[in-house]
Symmetry: C2
Subunit: 316 residues, 2 copies
């Protein structure tokens, strides 16, 4: 039996894993959530899965908010009617597959039922919204709010307005993300890859080169992160790291910029080629560490660790 | 009163913070440690400081090994006699300031008392050992073992042999690092910046460009790491991340390489200039977040978090 929250209603478009994650986050903050999907069977499956996830978070001690898992489950309903799903919603989060055609078609539909104050955000991970909202009536209400997987435990949300998105809509999205316990950042303009993937690709490029040039094994490259640099980055960003490792970032640059530039000048210039021979060799090494039949177990291990880290970080 | 361990003796050359950290790690694994410094007063200060640190780790529940802090403290002695410090040592860890002249002078001394099976490792963070061991009698016994700050909670150690370092010495260093609970990686050849700083500079370069191009605030750039990417990297390296996010890394490249290359082709080509105007702007923003008089508190907060994460990671 569904319950009505006083906080307002959120519409989630698409009931896949990302849609389910958004729903769990919003009900954790006490919102009513309606999850849209074309297929009633898929909706039923998603609702059952969300109930199960919330229960499991409760058991692990990492359920968000003050309501029980059962109470939170009751805040979620499903709908195969896009109009009904969006009716009275203050915020719409689209979570359909990553394809321009798909985004165009879905946003065309959402545009029909968008009201003056409604925010319509896409979970798109690499397509900027200017590529699919330009010709819509409510394009000033639309933007990207890109979560990171798994969103329940990795709170970063990249907010990217299109050139025509209203500032008020961008600000309201950021405020809402903060209120529900996510960690929003706001890109001031559209860039290819957004921010997270740009930084991730910079890392991958150098790791790929280190491997290809025969400097380190794949296992040792990964260790640089999870036994060193990555542990620090779980708490402190790259700029503050520089700031704290000298008398401020200006002093850091004064002391180390020359050395950093000397090292950087030996980087393989981007874009680097992800060649098949190197991919084959890395795959062979990684398969020895994580055999194909254990990737699922390994992913569960990773998510459990991320949950523990999130708990550690939220506690203080 | 000093106690004798059956595990053997380690010589630490230099009693600054890195030397003290190495000593704490070795006594945690039950070794006898002799810490060398020129100045007796500095040695006394270092011994008192190490005793205090070990006590504090014990109180925080993060002391390593099975011995009490008091028992571990008794395994450490000081010496201002380099010959006596190295006598019967199985492993020597040099921790003097980062200067080629200083390393040359100290390694010249260490060379005099080096025996056939002794390992002599430098904590150097950017000078490769071929730059200061080439003309020494025991150059095959010498290499780099670069720790990450704070070494007690960030276990990564970069082992970098010079072209003439004996394989047996490199392997023995790695085994010893593993035995004492550090996380060694072995660079198969010398490269500028070693591995950690190469990857760190790749990150900084892209972050710097994102800031300079007006895409994100300094605070939001740092958030990309500590609320997103960095949390994942605390447990899983960049290569395994690709491997798990598709059906293996080959499949990942097949699906995403083209998009990654398109994004990478918009990177500022290295080396990038760390210009004064940008440094000024970042400094101003960061000083608002961490005022100059609070950097020490913030560093303590960071180290405490790193200790908690290390505990979380060592527990399973």
């Amino acid at each position: 039996m569904a319950c009505k929250s006083e906080k307002g209603k959120i519409a989630i478009i698409g009931s896949g894993l990302i849609g389910q994650s958004w729903a769990a986050i919003f009900v954790g903050a006490g919102y009513n959530v309606t999850v849209y999907d074309i297929d009633d069977k898929q909706i039923e499956k998603a609702l059952a899965n969300m109930t199960k996830s919330l229960k499991s978070y409760e058991t692990q001690g990492c359920l968000r908010g003050n309501l029980s898992a059962e109470e939170q489950s009751k805040l979620i309903t499903g709908s195969h009617d896009i109009k009904a799903c969006m009716e009275n919603a203050i915020y719409v989060q689209e979570c359909v597959p990553e394809s321009i055609e798909m985004k165009k078609s879905v946003f065309g539909e959402l545009d029909k039922y968008c009201t003056k104050d409604m925010v319509i955000a896409s979970s798109s991970s690499c397509i900027n919204s200017s590529q699919f909202t330009e010709n819509l009536n409510h394009k000033t209400n639309m933007l990207i709010a890109h979560p990171v997987n798994p969103p329940y435990f990795l709170p970063l949300v990249e907010i990217i307005p299109a050139p025509w998105t209203a500032t008020e809509i961008t600000n309201r999205t950021r405020q809402l993300m903060e209120e529900i316990g996510q960690a929003p950042i706001t890109l001031k303009k559209e860039v290819p890859g957004f921010a997270l993937n740009r930084i991730q690709y910079a890392v991958i490029n150098e790791c790929w080169s280190l491997y290809k040039n025969g400097v380190l094994s794949a296992e040792d490259i990964d260790k640089v992160m999870y036994e060193g640099l990555g542990r620090r980055y779980a708490f402190i960003g790259p700029l503050e790291t520089m700031h704290l490792n000298a008398d401020g970032i200006k002093d850091y640059c004064k002391k180390y910029a020359e050395g950093m530039q000397k090292v950087s000048s030996t980087f393989t210039p981007p874009p680097i080629e992800y060649d098949a021979a190197t991919a084959d060799n890395i795959q062979e090494e990684l398969t020895n560490i994580v055999p194909a039949d254990q990737t699922q177990t390994r992913k569960e291990w990773r998510d459990e660790r991320l949950a523990q880290l999130d708990k550690l970080k939220r506690n203080k």
